[in-house]
Amino acid sequence: MGNTSSMLTQYDIEEVQEHCNNTFSQQEIVSLYQRFCQLDRNGCGFISADEFMSVPEFAVNPLSQRLLRMLDGLNFKEFVAFLSAFSSRASLQQKVEFIFKVYDSDGNGKVTFNEMLDILRDLTGQFISEQQREEVLTQVLEEAGYAKDSLLVQADFMKILGNSSLKMEVEVPVD
């Protein structure tokens, strides 16, 4: 898959499909490739932070910086794997796993109180004081049966979030 050509071969598509565990159809992968090439304006094989931020709808999202860290330097195959959690074919577990990865910024498989606080800060900005944020988080954690210093693993996330009302789906437009 050269970064200069805008043509995907059948082999490339199948390779990408395998890498994302068949969460996208072949047509969707072709659409995603067109989108990837459209965003990667200087054609260097990955989309830079600047190129992502040139999409205004993405730039106004409170979690954009977090996601940029995860999206940094991804080639097309990894880009599709990243988006696979948003496919309608992705399992609930894959979606919860993705959310967990967003929280777990140091990638050690455990989410700390501070990591949860970081995300809450991104989502609420200056509209809640830091102290109030800590209080709210401590309170809901305790009500759910977790101490303030507990480390949450993926299984905990699955228990908390893993019911069928979790909606995280984006449709890939196919011509």
Partner: protein
């Protein structure tokens, strides 16, 4: 590419709420006591981000859609080859000839008129107007322009301003052919800039520089002065501020709508049957764009001069701009998007993100109160 700056707050004072247009159906109004699940569940925000990565309405405005290839057949392909030969070998040299002839006629008439008739302003202006209309007709002929004008021709009256949707700089030529407008344009480098500072200046055109924020007040003043004068050429403004691909319209800048005069909308729609007239300034220079037009069969477009509009009582300039944008979009069959065209060059203001954060924060605090 130069670093993007956050757009100045001037750009979104009293802008309509973008959230009204954006798909946010994923964020339902939650109720009941606040639980851990509600704080940890970031899926709506993530879904919005992923949606923006996969497809967004802003990038769609500037996408040049390549035409469907039709020459994929054993008898169509030779036909197409023949077409290429005719276009490049016969039409193009002929057009270059016509254009050169036009320039010779124009320049040989313009300079004498410009210098010799310095005393007689009225006559000089009249002749210059006629000459500019002439050279624009030559330009249009050089792409075999098939342009249909609908509606009453613009008249020269004070206190009126013309606004049109923008697809390429040829919009200006297409309109100028019929009426010698004074236009407000971005100052360009190269031969276009040269034309701007010599010939177009005499029409009363106004130049601005996108990257200079102080420029705005000076330009606003010049606009006001121009519309007051009865003798000045009618003023043409492209309120989108940038070229859009003729399938969408981006938000109109309110500058044209707060001059206290009548606004006459003009809708332009290009027919892509032979060539796509969208000038994707990120992908090609204006010269390349013109060459592309000159080597295609024809440029087909419709121009509608629509009913003049005035500011309604109790209407803000922004609402006025949106109303006129609506009129133009409906007439030309374009879809409206809520983005500022200048986001091509700068980033959205943090205000939008803050609004999202505020709404979430308020929900959290509200539910905290509930027992």
């Amino acid at each position: 590419m130069s670093k993007l700056n956050t757009s100045s707050s001037e750009f979104d004072l009293d802008r309509p709420n973008i959230e009204d247009y954006l798909p946010s159906g994923s964020i339902q109004e939650p109720c009941g006591k606040l639980r851990l699940r509600d704080l940890l569940d970031i899926s709506p925000t993530l879904t919005e981000a992923a949606g923006a990565i996969i497809d967004d309405s802003f990038t769609r405005c500037f996408k040049s859609n390549p035409p469907e290839p039709w020459n994929w057949n054993v008898y169509l392909f030779p036909l197409w080859c023949l077409g290429v030969v005719v276009r490049y070998g016969f039409l193009f040299p002929l057009r270059v000839l016509v254009l050169t002839l036009g320039w010779i006629v124009f320049l040989s008439c313009y300079f004498p008129v410009h210098t010799l008739l310095k005393g007689n302003e009225k006559l000089r202006k009249k002749l210059e107007r006629g000459l500019v209309e002439l050279i624009c007709s030559f330009f249009v002929a050089s792409w075999t322009g098939v342009i249909k004008y609908h509606g009453p021709r613009p008249s020269m009256r004070p206190k009126q301003v013309f606004v049109a949707n923008h697809t390429s700089m040829i919009d200006f030529i297409v309109l100028e052919q019929m009426t010698a407008f004074a236009v407000i344009m971005q100052k360009h480098p190269g031969w276009v800039g040269l034309l701007q500072s010599t010939i177009l200046d005499s029409l009363g055109c106004i130049w601005f520089n996108r990257s200079e924020s102080k420029d705005r007040e000076i330009v606003a003043r010049k606009l006001r002065e121009h519309v007051e004068g009865a003798d000045n050429n009618p003023l043409l403004i492209f309120p989108e501020g940038t070229c859009v691909n003729n399938h969408y319209t981006v938000m109109f800048k309110k500058g044209a709508f707060e001059l206290g005069c009548t606004v006459c909308p003009i809708a332009i729609k290009y027919n892509k049957i032979f060539v796509d007239a969208f000038w994707n300034s990120r992908k090609q220079s204006f010269t390349t764009h013109l060459l592309q037009l000159m080597t295609s069969w024809a440029v087909v477009c419709d121009v509608w001069y629509l009913e003049p509009q005035n500011l309604k009582p109790g209407e803000t300039p922004i609402e006025f701009a949106e109303r006129v944008r609506d009129i133009i979009s409906v007439r030309a069959g374009l879809r409206k998007v809520p983005w500022d065209g200048y986001l091509k060059y700068s980033r959205p203001s943090p205000k939008h993100r803050e609004r999202k954060q505020q709404s979430f924060a308020e929900t959290v605090l509200l539910r905290l109160e509930e027992k």
